[in-house]
């Protein structure tokens, strides 16, 4: 049975009290709880996305030995709010020859695709909107909406730069989905399930139980996944669709105001999501160390903090990479995907399968230090 946040909360006593207040209408209560959580998560992620722009500017400034934004609020931390207000109040310009419907649709699709993935992101063992049986598969599938949106954005603008950016973006996202998916499949193989609950639950205890340390193939798979995820989110060094030195600003060249904001927000949240997935799949997710399990509500908050810490560390790495590495050429991009990452990912998948059979499912640490599985 699929576990949800509602089914998690229903084990506490206060749930019954609230249920009575709703006149024992479980459906209505579930609807309210879902809505509440959805609002909280979307708001949280929007904030994280906003803060992402701030972090990007601050970290880049740090790397380049500048100060960065420092006027609005303490250390300039409210800069993103000021930017948001600026975007919302800007004039909404649409090119005369643009395809009106698709021009409106594209930023919305981007945001829908990203927000839909939040439904399965495992914030903690309890706070997960819906722990679906096909969780990770669903996440991969629904996030491909972003690819469509990039393409449509490029097409609908009816501009050379946008068109080229959109085409590049779509082909890049489709291509890099393959090594990413195969790397994730290796982890699915190790966990024996596609639900995030099962995958995270498998990595309880010490960091030696994390899937990244499970076997050498999984270790390589993490890097394949991470590189592929960078490309899927159009982050440097794979930011060809929005390469400012070649295509002005790529697929969102013609977008202004909050429409541009949607694209930007979607990109930053997607980076957060792929980092979260990396943390959940490879780095133990929201598990407390040493397998401490008090089943009380505050512990869930601690787990959320752990998950956020891991994710944000990866987020930092992503930004770090952006300001360190130069951009690739288009042919290099494709050859990396098809000639290197995909074969390596396939070898990893086969290697994991063989490892499972040969060592009877035991991890590297279990083989070395002993222990049962």
């Amino acid at each position: 049975m699929n576990q949800t946040v509602v089914s998690y909360l229903s084990q506490y006593e206060f749930y019954d009290i609230i249920l009575e207040a709703f006149g024992n209408n479980e459906g209505l209560l579930a609807f309210v709880i879902y809505s509440l959580f959805a609002v909280i998560i979307v708001a949280l992620c929007a904030t994280i996305g906003g803060l992402g722009t701030y972090a990007e500017r601050k970290i880049s400034a740090d790397i380049q030995q500048r100060l960065g934004p420092n006027r609005v609020g303490p250390y300039g931390i409210l800069q993103f709010l000021a930017d948001g207000v600026k975007m919302m109040t800007k004039e909404d310009v649409m090119p005369f020859t643009a395809d009106k419907m698709l021009f409106y649709l594209a930023p919305c699709l981007a945001l829908v695709g990203v927000f839909a993935t939040l439904a399965v992101l495992p914030w903690s063992s309890g706070f997960i909107m819906a722990d679906m049986n096909v969780g990770i598969f669903y996440l991969i599938a629904i996030s491909s909406l972003v690819g469509v949106s990039v393409f449509l954005g490029g097409y609908a603008s009816n501009s050379k730069w946008s068109m080229l950016g959109g085409m590049r973006g779509a082909s890049q996202i489709i291509s890099y989905e393959i090594p990413v998916t195969i790397s994730i499949l290796a982890i699915v193989l190790l966990a024996g399930g596609m639900s995030f609950g099962a995958i995270v639950g498998h990595q309880k205890g010490l960091p030696t139980n994390w899937f990244i340390f499970h076997n050498p193939f999984a270790f390589v798979a993490f890097f394949v996944y991470f590189i592929g995820a960078l490309a899927e989110t159009n982050r440097a060094p794979f930011d060809l669709p929005e390469a400012e030195s070649e295509l002005v600003s790529g697929y969102h060249t013609e977008y202004t105001g909050m429409r541009f904001g949607f694209f930007a927000l979607a990109e930053y949240i997607e980076v957060f999501v792929v980092c979260g997935v990396a943390a959940a799949l490879f780095l133990g997710g929201s598990n407390l160390p040493f397998d401490i399990s008090f089943d009380i509500l505050p512990i869930q908050l601690v787990e959320v903090v752990i998950f956020m810490t891991k994710t944000l560390l990866l987020y930092y790495v992503v930004i770090w990479i952006r300001w360190t590495f130069p951009r690739l050429r288009v042919d290099q991009l494709m050859s990396i995907c098809w000639k290197y990452l995909t074969p390596i990912a396939i070898v990893n998948l086969c290697g994991c399968a063989i490892w499972l059979v040969v060592f009877n499912g035991r991890s590297f640490a279990q083989i070395v230090f002993g222990g049962h599985h």
Binding site: G147, F151, Y155, G193
Partner: protein, 177 residues
């Protein structure tokens, strides 16, 4: 309640998308409406308890086929080219005209009537059957079925996909003039 809601929305999306595909004049918009329609079908799969099929539907169609079609539309000149061809040769316009649509609708009505008479029988004979409201996970069962009962079809489909991949690459590759 959620299932009912999901069903209503998905059905609306599916039917609306399908009809929009029919009536839209712009091939690019048609593709997008097809996308909506396919996502609706995925929702319908979800209401039928077919979680794996639903996600596969989204994965393959949204991530693959629709983008492929958008590419194809783009590589074949997009919507603009269509009207030019029509003016030049005096053929029926690419997205159809009154004549083609009236023929198509005529055929469809005949087909619709035929099928409704069939469906009526089926629904009358199977109506009372319901199998509860639970949605057990199908992933592991489908996995077992694929590598046990349907393993031949599974392997053949892999060969088919490989053939399609190679064939598509060979057919569409750029040729030296």
């Amino acid at each position: 309640m959620f299932a009912q809601l999901l069903f209503a929305m998905s059905a609306l999306l599916t039917v609306g998308g399908a009809i929009a595909v029919v009536v839209t004049k712009n091939i690019m918009h048609s593709c997008i409406f097809l996308l909506a329609c396919l996502i609706g079908v995925a929702g319908l799969y979800a209401t039928l308890g077919a979680d794996f099929v639903a996600v596969t539907q989204i994965m393959v169609y949204v991530g693959g086929i629709v983008i492929l079609m958008l590419f194809a539309v783009m590589l074949t000149g997009g919507k603009d080219f269509v009207s030019r061809a029509q003016n030049l040769l005096g053929l029926a316009p690419s997205m159809g005209n009154k004549w083609t649509f009236s023929i198509a609708i005529l055929v469809s009505i005949v087909f619709l009537l035929t099928n409704i008479s069939l469906i009526g029988n089926i629904v009358r004979s199977h109506a009372p059957k319901t199998f509860g409201n639970d949605y057990p996970s199908t992933v592991s069962q489908i996995g077992h079925l694929l590598v046990k009962d349907h393993v031949l079809a599974f392997e053949l489909s892999s060969v088919l996909l490989l053939g399609a991949l190679v064939g598509a690459a060979i057919i569409a590759r750029p040729r030296k003039q």
